[in-house]
C-alpha cells in the first residue's frame, strides 16, 4: 500500500527543566521535551520512573517546583487543570474515570460538559436553544460512538461492560471534549492481545482522522515502538533518552535501564 509520509506541525506543547518533588522524594528532575502537533509521543520507563507524574504536570494536577510548561505559545510555571481542560487537553486514566451506573451515551455526553453553553434552567426545561444545543452534542457523541464501534452498548450501564470496552468508553469520554492534545495513561493496561490491537487501531485512527496530538504512557514496548513517532524515556525521575523508536532501541542508557547493568 502506498501511504503519504507522516507530517507534523509546530511544537504545540513543551516542558522545560521540570522538577517535581513530594517532600524529600524527587519524582521528576530537570525534564525537558516537546510535542509537535499531530504526532504520537510516548513516555516510557520502568515502574516508578515518574511517567504518570509527568502527565499530571502536563494537565496541571501537579505543580512542579521548577520549570515551565508552554502550551500553544503560552508559557507558564504550572498548568492549571481547568485551563488545560478548557483549552483542549483531555486525558484518560489508568484506573478509568467513568460513571459506572450511567450508560455509555451519558458518560460520553458528560465528557462534553465543558462545552455546554446554555444555562442549567434552560437545560432542565429542554427549551429553545438548550434543546438545539443538546441535539448538536448528541450528534457529536454519536459520531464518536460510531468511530469507536460501540453502538451495541450505547445504552448499557458502563459498570456492566467488560474491562476492554470500558477502556474504549474512557477514550470516547476524553474524545467527546474534542481535544487538541490527548493524554493517554496506559491505554492498554490489563488488555488481552486482541483488545490491544483494537486499541492501537483506534489510537492511530484518532490521530489520523481528527488530527489529535497524542501523548501516551505505555508499558508494552512492542506497542510503543509500533505506535509512536517519538519516545521519551524516564528512569528514576530523570530523562535518559529522547528520540525516534529506532534511536531509542539502540540507546545504551535505555538498554541498561531496562535490562540492568553489571556493577
Amino acid at each position: 500500500m502506498t501511504y503519504q509520509p507522516r507530517q507534523f506541525g509546530d511544537v504545540i506543547l513543551a516542558v522545560e527543566n521540570i522538577s517535581l518533588s513530594f517532600g524529600g522524594v524527587k519524582a521528576l528532575t530537570d525534564i525537558s521535551f516537546d510535542v509537535r502537533e499531530h504526532e504520537i509521543r510516548a513516555i516510557i520507563g520502568p515502574n516508578g520512573a515518574g511517567k504518570s507524574s509527568m502527565l499530571n504536570v502536563i494537565n496541571g494536577v501537579y505543580h512542579p517546583q521548577q520549570g515551565r510548561v508552554t502550551y500553544r505559545g503560552q508559557s507558564r510555571a504550572a498548568m492549571e487543570p481547568h485551563f488545560a481542560a478548557r483549552n483542549g487537553i483531555a486525558r484518560t486514566f489508568q484506573s478509568l474515570a467513568l460513571f459506572k451506573g450511567m450508560s455509555v451515551l451519558d458518560n460520553l455526553l458528560a465528557g462534553r460538559n465543558l462545552m455546554i453553553r446554555s444555562n442549567i434552567f434552560l437545560q432542565a426545561l429542554r427549551v429553545g436553544p438548550a434543546l438545539r444545543e443538546e441535539v448538536e452534542h448528541r450528534k457529536r457523541v454519536e459520531e464518536i460512538i460510531d468511530f469507536l464501534e460501540i453502538q451495541h452498548v450505547r445504552k448499557t450501564p458502563v459498570g456492566r461492560l467488560p474491562y476492554g470496552l470500558q477502556k474504549r468508553v474512557d477514550l470516547g469520554r476524553a474524545l467527546a471534549a474534542e481535544p487538541k492534545v490527548l493524554l493517554l495513561d496506559e491505554p492498554m493496561a490489563g488488555m488481552n492481545v486482541e483488545e490491544k490491537q483494537d486499541m492501537c487501531r483506534f489510537i492511530l485512527d484518532v490521530n489520523d482522522e481528527f488530527g489529535t496530538t497524542i501523548v501516551l504512557i505505555e508499558h508494552d514496548m512492542g506497542v510503543v515502538m509500533d505506535l509512536s513517532d517519538r519516545v521519551v524515556v524516564l528512569d528514576y525521575g530523570k530523562m535518559i533518552g529522547d528520540g525516534t523508536p529506532d534511536e531509542i532501541r539502540s540507546n545504551q542508557a535505555v538498554i541498561d535501564a531496562y535490562l540492568g547493568v553489571k556493577h
Partner: protein, 652 residues
Amino acid sequence: MATAVAAADTFPKLLAAHAQARGESPAIREKDLGIWQCWTWRQVADEVRLLAAGLAARGFRPGAHLAVIGDNRPRLYFAQLAAQSLGGIPVPFYQDAPAPEMTYVFQNAEIEIAIVEDQEQADKLFEILPQCPKLKHIFYDDPRGFRHYKREELSSYESLLAEGEAWSKGHPGFLEEAVARGRGSDTSIMLYTSGTTGNPKGVVLSYDNLVRSSVAYTQLEGLTDQEEVLAYLPMAWIGQNLFSYAQWLVAGFRINCPESAETVITDMREIGPTYYFAPPRVLEALLTQVTIRMEDASAPKRWMYRHFMDLARRVGANILDGRPVGLAERLQYGLGGILVYGPLRNALGMTRIRVAYTAGEAIGPDLFVFYRSLGINLKQLYGQTETCASVCVQPNGQVKPDTVGTPLAGVEVRVLDSGEIVLRCPGLFVEYHQNEEATREAKDAEGWYHTGDAGYFDADGHLKIIDRAKDVGKLQDGTLFAPKYLENKLKFFTTIKEAVAFGDGRPVATAMINIDMQAVGDWAERRGIAYSGYQDLAAKPQVYDLIRECVEKVNADLAADPKLSGSQIHRFVVLHKELDADDGELTRTRKVRRRFIAEKYESVIHALYSDIDHCWVEAQVRFEDGRTGTVRAQLAVREAKTFPPQAAAKAA
C-alpha cells in the same frame, strides 16, 4: 399505478413503478449515528439514476459484472439496482470471505468495477489485484481510513455520484432507454455457491426467476407494501436476495439495515418487523439469550415462565394452527399472553411478526415449537440458490415440525427411485456461469433439476427431506437408511453433541454418540454425580441411561414414520473422547467423516454388530500443542428399546 408494478418484469422497471406509485413513502432505512435514516422510493430512484450514470461514465457495459462487497448498506442495494438498470449483473460477495477466496470469482466473472463498503473490503481487493488484472475501479462507501491511500483505482461513492451527475447532463434520457431495453429473461444477478469441492459455481438467475418466485411468496402470504423487514443476512445469500431485495421490489415494502452486526437484536426491537427470515442458528442464539436471562430472574418470575411455557408447549401451536383446544386452556393461554408470551415476543422484537421463515439447515423440533407456541407464525421452507429458495413452504395452519411443507405455486417435485428429489420451478436458474458441464449435470434435458437431496412425500403431501442423496443407504432388508436424519434427531437433544449412525448394508442401525460436556456436566452436578473428566463422565452408567432415553425417544419418533421405522437404532455406544477435526474425524466445518470414523473405530463397530456388551478402543489423539498420544478405554455397548411401526400399521 398498481398495474405498472404488476406489469414490470425487471427490478429497474419495478423501481420506476414504485417511484411513481408511492414515491414519498419510505423504501429503505439505515440506522446511522443512532437515528433511523430514511430514503423514499423517489430518493432511491434518483440516487440509482446518478449511480448508474456514474458507472456508465466509467465504462460499465450491458452484460458486465459488478462486484458488490459489504454488509447490508442502502448504498450497496443502490449499486445492485444501478448495475441492473444498465443491463449489467451484480455479483454480491460474502463480506467475511478472505481475499484469496474472492480471486476466483473476480477472474471467473471478469469483473472490472467493484463497489465496497469500507477499507477492510478495499484492502482485500488490493491484495488480490495482481491476480485480477481486469479489475480497474474500486468505489468505497465509508471513507474512514482511506485518507492516505494513493491508488488510482480507488475513488469514493460520492465522487461516482458526482461523475454521474455531470455525465447524465450530456446524455439525457439514457437511463429510461436502458431500463426499457431490459427483459424478464435477462440475467438479473449472479450468486456464487460455495462448492464443497473445487471452485465455486456462479448461479445465473434471471429476472423471471426472482420476480416469479417473489410473486408466489407475496400471493401465498398476502404481503403488502406495509411490511417491515430487517435486512441483516449476507447479501450474497439467496435468502437475503429473495426476501429483502426481490420481494422488496415486487411488493414495495420497507427494508431496514441495522447499525452493525452486534446491534441486530436492539434494531429489531425498534423496527418490529412484520415479515422475518432467520436461519436456525440465529433463532437458537435468541432462545439461549432468553433462557440465560430467565435463569437470573427472581423465583416467582421463573415459576411463571416455566408454568406458562409448559402450557404453551402443549396448546400454543394448536391455537396458532386453529386446532381445537379446551376452553380452560384457552383462557389460561390468554392469561399467559398478558403475563409471559406478549412481553417475551416484545423482548425478541417479534410482536408484529405475521410470517417468519427459517431455512438453511435442519431446525430442532424444540426450537421450532418454542417460537410457534409463543404465537409466532414461524415456518420452514425448502430451496437452493439454484431454485431461488422457492420450492416448498409449510402452509399456514398445517405446519409439521419435521417436513418442509408443500410445493409453491408452479413448482413440480418428483422423487426418483433412488430417493433423490428432482424438480422444475419458475425460479429454476438459467445456468452456471461458463460451466456447461456442471449445468448439464444439475439440469437434465427435460429441465428437471437434480437437488442431490433425498426425501419423500408424506401422507398429507408434505415433502420431508432426510439426507443428502449420496449418503442415503439401505439396511440388509432393503429399508431406507438416512444417517444424517438420525444424527440430526439425536443432536437436537442438548445432551448429545455429535452422533454417527451406521447401518448401510447392515442388518440394523446403530450409533456412536458424543455427549455434550457442558450440558451433561451440569446435569451430573445437579444430581451429585462425581466425575473426573470427559472420559469418566461419558462412561458413567447414569449417563448411559440418560443417553438411552434420548435414543429411545428418537426410536419412538421413527416408529411413527412409515418409511423410516425400520431404521431405529438398536445398539449404541457413548464415545470416550470428543470427535475432533484435529484427529480427522470431523471436517473443518464440523461435518462427520463417517467412513474415516468407521475405519478408525473398527473394534467399536464390530462390538455394535455382535452380542458383546463392551469393547476396547485405542485411539490416537492430537493434543493442541501438536503432540500425539494414545487414549485407551473400555466402552460399554448398550441396547435401546425399539418400537413396532405404528403409523405403518395405521396407514395399511
